[in-house]
Subunit: 337 residues, 4 copies
Amino acid sequence: MIIVTKPEATEEQLQHLLDRIKEAGLKAEVSRGAQRTVVGVIGAEDVIREMPLAAIPGVESVTPVLKPYKLVAREFRGQTGVVKIGDVAVGGKEVVIMSGPCSVESRAQIVGIGREIAKAGARILRGGAFKPRTSPYSFQGLGVDGLKLLAEARAETGLPIITEVMDPRDLESIEQYADCLQVGARNMQNFSLLKEVGRSKLPVMLKRGMSATIKDLLMSAEYILSEGNFNVLLCERGIRTFETATRNTLDLNAVPVLQAETHLPVVVDPTHGIGLREHVTSMALAAVACGADAIMCEVHDSPENAKSDGEQALLPHEFEDLVQRVKKVAEAVGRTV
Amino acid sequence: MIIVTKPEATEEQLQHLLDRIKEAGLKAEVSRGAQRTVVGVIGAEDVIREMPLAAIPGVESVTPVLKPYKLVAREFRGQTGVVKIGDVAVGGKEVVIMSGPCSVESRAQIVGIGREIAKAGARILRGGAFKPRTSPYSFQGLGVDGLKLLAEARAETGLPIITEVMDPRDLESIEQYADCLQVGARNMQNFSLLKEVGRSKLPVMLKRGMSATIKDLLMSAEYILSEGNFNVLLCERGIRTFETATRNTLDLNAVPVLQAETHLPVVVDPTHGIGLREHVTSMALAAVACGADAIMCEVHDSPENAKSDGEQALLPHEFEDLVQRVKKVAEAVGRTV
Amino acid sequence: MIIVTKPEATEEQLQHLLDRIKEAGLKAEVSRGAQRTVVGVIGAEDVIREMPLAAIPGVESVTPVLKPYKLVAREFRGQTGVVKIGDVAVGGKEVVIMSGPCSVESRAQIVGIGREIAKAGARILRGGAFKPRTSPYSFQGLGVDGLKLLAEARAETGLPIITEVMDPRDLESIEQYADCLQVGARNMQNFSLLKEVGRSKLPVMLKRGMSATIKDLLMSAEYILSEGNFNVLLCERGIRTFETATRNTLDLNAVPVLQAETHLPVVVDPTHGIGLREHVTSMALAAVACGADAIMCEVHDSPENAKSDGEQALLPHEFEDLVQRVKKVAEAVGRTV
Amino acid sequence: MIIVTKPEATEEQLQHLLDRIKEAGLKAEVSRGAQRTVVGVIGAEDVIREMPLAAIPGVESVTPVLKPYKLVAREFRGQTGVVKIGDVAVGGKEVVIMSGPCSVESRAQIVGIGREIAKAGARILRGGAFKPRTSPYSFQGLGVDGLKLLAEARAETGLPIITEVMDPRDLESIEQYADCLQVGARNMQNFSLLKEVGRSKLPVMLKRGMSATIKDLLMSAEYILSEGNFNVLLCERGIRTFETATRNTLDLNAVPVLQAETHLPVVVDPTHGIGLREHVTSMALAAVACGADAIMCEVHDSPENAKSDGEQALLPHEFEDLVQRVKKVAEAVGRTV
């Protein structure tokens, strides 16, 4: 922790600051410059991270030296971990492709799409049963019935399934059916939910919030790990910027930055990220090129009849093409599909 | 709904689009330009709002004509409504001042601060018992004990209390103590929670999410009203932008825009909005000048010992000064304090 | 300057860093923590501000202690300065109102509007002769003819005039007619232009760029002052965010922050800031409440025939109302109009 | 153009709107809904694009149907064009690599780096002689002397050179030495400069501004083409968002979107885009995977001594590695290097 005082700070204020640091059991080193005094705090930063040092009169700024996360830090493990969803390993040499419709709509739909994407090369089936929708008047998902249909699709295709949990009260029933839990972008800082999935035995894919910094995303993951669940995937799915030509701004910069900061595998969702069907494949290729461990993209057999997000869903044959092209780029960067 | 086709759209694609509109029971008017065809859809827009028309081949863009919200729309009521918190009316001529510490920390603290702000002119006492914190290692609030202390402070000061609900499972106990529920910025799109508070008998203050557009905020409020609870306040508390000199960017533009769009009263939180203690008062004055119905700001009697957000809390005497200055500006714009 | 090393930094790397600091004639204080070493650099920070210390192997981060601007810093003067435009003082007790059309269109238009706003209380007349337009096919301004018309309007109304300079090559002719130069948001980092207006004898109003931080704005002003021209006004006119309900996001937080950081007076342009005619007055009131030294807003006698920005221009009678309301708020905060 | 009226619009207001459209020589089609009337304008949209229709009383919104740009539109040419810089073609099958230091610093430096990058596979040499710097106290470039050194480096290496022009008055001397002009992000809306380079015989690389939408970028390019210069490259170099872990947010979404919208080749600058040396290569790979026609990245032989941007420059051997890896990804997407 580095504390800089204001030019007009008094000796008394400085002394009070030093007393507070000492009280907390830490050591301070004082460097007096011509205009400001700099106080370096030596020792375990967490002890005083929670102290509102900037509220002490005479203090101009407080800059932490250490990262605020521990369990998610790459240093904790030293390399990318592998998270298993069913029997599929994410975080190894294989770039895993997750796919499926936005929402589960019917048995025929989810089983049909599941079969097509399995044949094309998908390894994990996604499908929403509980849907977070901007409007209360929009389709809210089939709920538990949707979960059952997902389980049937798994039985038919052999693909493990991932589905979203929005409410801690739904967790128990979702756990009966799913192989992986998804926490959506809008719930990335729903801390009650994070704690709850942190106590689950299932792996969790945590999506980055629309205005979440990379640090925020890591802190939210830290919530899950701190409850004991280390099987966490982080998913970049686009942030909100001033650009309106795309639905969101898929922030691929986050991929290498996350991989340097954490041991958790990184998934990229180009579908929500760019939100334009014709460009989903381009962004999937880019994601793999810069190091994504998995790709999640939405497929629908009849987008114009989809109950949600039809505008951005790929048709099955477009998805097949995506997989073929992703395979080539994966090989070019030393991975497989 | 206005649909524009692509330059290369075929007659067949256009016909298919018209068939879909007709199937939905609506009428289409077709205007053929040199480069694009424009299709205007006449009739109840909600019928097809959920149809992914942009997924139909040949469609370039779909622009809604009507607003996606109904119950929150100003047209629904024609004027600003009044929401009562205890016996305090928000949305009338009086600009209501809500204040208190970020977190409830002890009986002495909440009762002490409560008394000081009541004397200075605050009408409602705030204080967090369940705290959404970025880090799992930060103080998470006193929970139900905090609620009880709030109730004691109400008994001592006569001020009705507002406190945050983060988890639907906590709602029942919070309802026993609180006069108004707060849904925080990070839960603005926690739709399960919105539905739950929509079924409560208590008024709800909904804070704008850090990356929520004004439309998003209104849609989230629509969730609450659609469950039957019309006693909703909207709170502008700063959005996330590229600017780092301030903690958030308090978006006062939202105040007049919201007041033109909705009948719900508008609260402004300058404390989180700018995040710098020395400038909270300036932003409170600005908020009142542009029409805010209420102001919420944080006060602490010993900011450097606060368990959360001490850096931005006003001291009681600074708050007193704020109230005096707010009063003058309120009068200048035809309101009272 | 505070330098933090990487956990894996070697002693050799640290020594190399210390050598570089010593070479520059500065002193380093080293604090060794368990995980990182912190190096505080004592002495004139500017000497090494330009050294890319972060490029030195083993360095994790470099944090400056001192502000990168000098001449614009409040400490340089100790109080808000007064800048005179013609005989009107900006930065004193009076909140100065600048107004006029977006573009000069004809003699009748600029003289007519000039008279109306003068009567209503404006103190300075604005009008664009050289117009920065997003499209090359839009009206680009009347150029020198527009300047002549502005001068005629000044003769008729007695109001000093402010007009935009876009190109260093136009400066000489603009200086013959104008009382104050405006550098527009799109040219805020056109450093050639900044140097040129820094050599002018006229005062300069520098508008904040759409993605400029407050620090960027101050650094651009520093360019002007460093060439010898200290008569600079800073203008907040809205930044670009994700919000689309308003044209820009008028960032009023910048007003108190700038006033704490610099001695330069602060102008607010609510017209471009919110971009919605019906809400310009609300934002003007807010700007004055939080401390703006001047307000600039656009007026047109026939907005629907305006050659630029008609959508956001006030009618003369709306402007008259704005001035009356601004006057009341100004008095409430101890200023005059 | 589609115009929607307000619910409270009168018949008289509607008639006035229709009269204005008719006066402009266009045809209007009126669709009356229950709550709003929609007016579709048929005919050449440019005729009324400049009319401030939204300023007409009773109008709620105005939505253009056609794109505001013409010459840059993909439809104008039907395919990606090829722009030649010296004898190097950008926009064909080859992904062109441009590289060099941020600033030209000395003969030894620019010739030395030029030789290393040429050997590694770069096809074009970059180097700044006129530097746009945030601070007036930073190194501002060697000016004309820098241009001469660039010309010497071209003679030694055979690589054509690209360098930035900041001021219309410098253009003539830059044209004597350069093979391609660069307009920097901060000058993307310096319309005087755009017109000037539009009259040059040299190709121009236009960098996207930090807060420029894709549409803004295309409109700025339209300025250049409208003056007769069709040899324009567009460069994505990162936008400004709330994320602070990276210097900018490289927006790769812009690559496929631009390629669908325009015939101009697209360059990506991963160096400024992410601003972190260790991640430049990852972003270069991603850029090529999603379709970039060229990559620009900065190389320095002694980053810690660089006069600008040393923190983000690659060492020559890192650049060599980048080229080898880019080559593989280029091949995977059917391109060459």
